[in-house]
Amino acid sequence: MSGDFIRRDRAWHPPGLTPNYKTSVLRAPRRALLSFEQSIGEKSGPAFGHGAIDPLDNDLIANFNTGAPALGERILLHGRVLDECGRPVPHTLIEIWQANAAGRYRHVNDGYLAPLDPNFGGCGRTLSDAEGRYHFLTIKPGPYPWRNNGSDWRAAHIHLSIFGEAFAQRLITQIYFEGDPLIALCPIVNTIPDKRAIDMLIARLDMGEMAPFDRLAYRFDIVLRGRRATYFENRTEGA
């Protein structure tokens, strides 16, 4: 078993209670989180193999195709998974989900009036490669309204879930798009107190990776908690 993970900077993440995002008011714990050192359970995590993953799972333009590709602005979403020490995180499972180009989710609980796209499911997954790189082909999602303060609008976003190599690195977040004026107005974006942290969630237009007469590209790197070296660890954890 390798070293401990660097502690999570809770001031960098959104706090639990963010009253301008109203649902948080009844769902945020009132008590402080209890801090403890990590044991083997927090320093290990599930490994997902290629076996379960279909070759089309990272192509959302094609993976729900019922006769035509998905409608919308075609994009490549790509980047690297690193840890806070700058080391690549290889072979880790990344899952994404998103609304279609009109801002509608294919979900039994989404009743937004915008249309479903019969050729878009909005569900993708992939494993990072040996150098921590990943990519998805998809369409740029549309913004959508939600109740919150009357009718707020979500900035266009793709939800992302990632495992890392251990339970302590587990993370779910959202990816936004450079230049979207709704980012500044979005109550969920603004649960994050630090502008530099918000900046980490904005995918950058990447003209170097666009494919001529096919699609644009956006670059989004992911950083997971870093792992300390093991100089002073005792060896009782089943090394």
Binding site: Y21, L26, A28, P29, R31, E84, R106
Partner: protein, 197 residues
């Protein structure tokens, strides 16, 4: 100047449509309908078969019906990533009732940092709309009184009246062993202990 590190990507809520990407069949998509990620006890996995179940309550006492939960645990002999038993599970709260459950095996004790044993427990993560960064808790077992009293994590909880929020209650239903683990996100007395580990 101190040494520079990269900063962790900040969390955002999983939102109400988390199921599309994590449990697409639950969202109503005709995808991965054969996946049973809430069933960890497959085939010949050794150990006592148990059902771990509960409801997550919000600060008004209402069930949280759009949560996604993940568990991570050792096998019956206390090993993580053991061959034949993944130890990882995922499920959705029921959209109508908020009830969730896993079918798994009761884990064995696992080592703490200094070689002492931790009482058997299942680590649990909660993701949902309104939860900006996932919540991490542990379910211990009500029939492990002696092990729970010696557990380094439970022992370190200063407010002793909060320890029971981490104990799943054992019962038998239809011949099956059931552990009930209700979670209270916000409560004057019963608020579940959540960890920063």
């Amino acid at each position: 100047m101190p040494v520079d590190y990269l900063k962790e990507t900040p969390s955002q809520t999983a939102g109400p449509y988390v199921h599309i990407g994590t449990l697409p069949a639950a969202a109503g998509l005709p995808l991965r309908t054969q996946e049973n990620l809430h069933v960890l006890a497959q085939g010949a996995a050794a150990g006592e078969r148990i059902r771990l179940e509960g409801v997550i309550h919000d600060g008004a006492g209402a069930p949280v019906k759009d949560a996604m939960l993940e568990i991570w645990q050792a096998d019956a002999s206390g090993r993580y990533n053991a061959p034949g038993f993944s130890g990882w599970g995922r499920t959705a709260a029921d959209f109508k009732t908020g009830e969730w459950f896993f079918e798994t095996v009761k884990p064995g004790p696992t080592p703490w940092r200094d070689g002492r044993l931790q009482a058997p427990h299942v680590s649990l993560l909660i993701f949902a709309r309104g939860i900006n960064i996932h919540l991490h808790t542990r379910a211990y077992f009500s029939d492990e009184t002696a092990a729970n009293e010696a557990d380094p994590v439970l022992r370190a909880i200063e407010q002793r009246n909060r320890v029971p929020t981490l104990i799943a209650q054992r019962s038998t239903r239809g011949g099956q062993t059931v552990y009930r683990f209700d979670v209270w996100l916000q409560h004057d007395e019963r608020e579940t202990v959540f960890f920063d580990m």
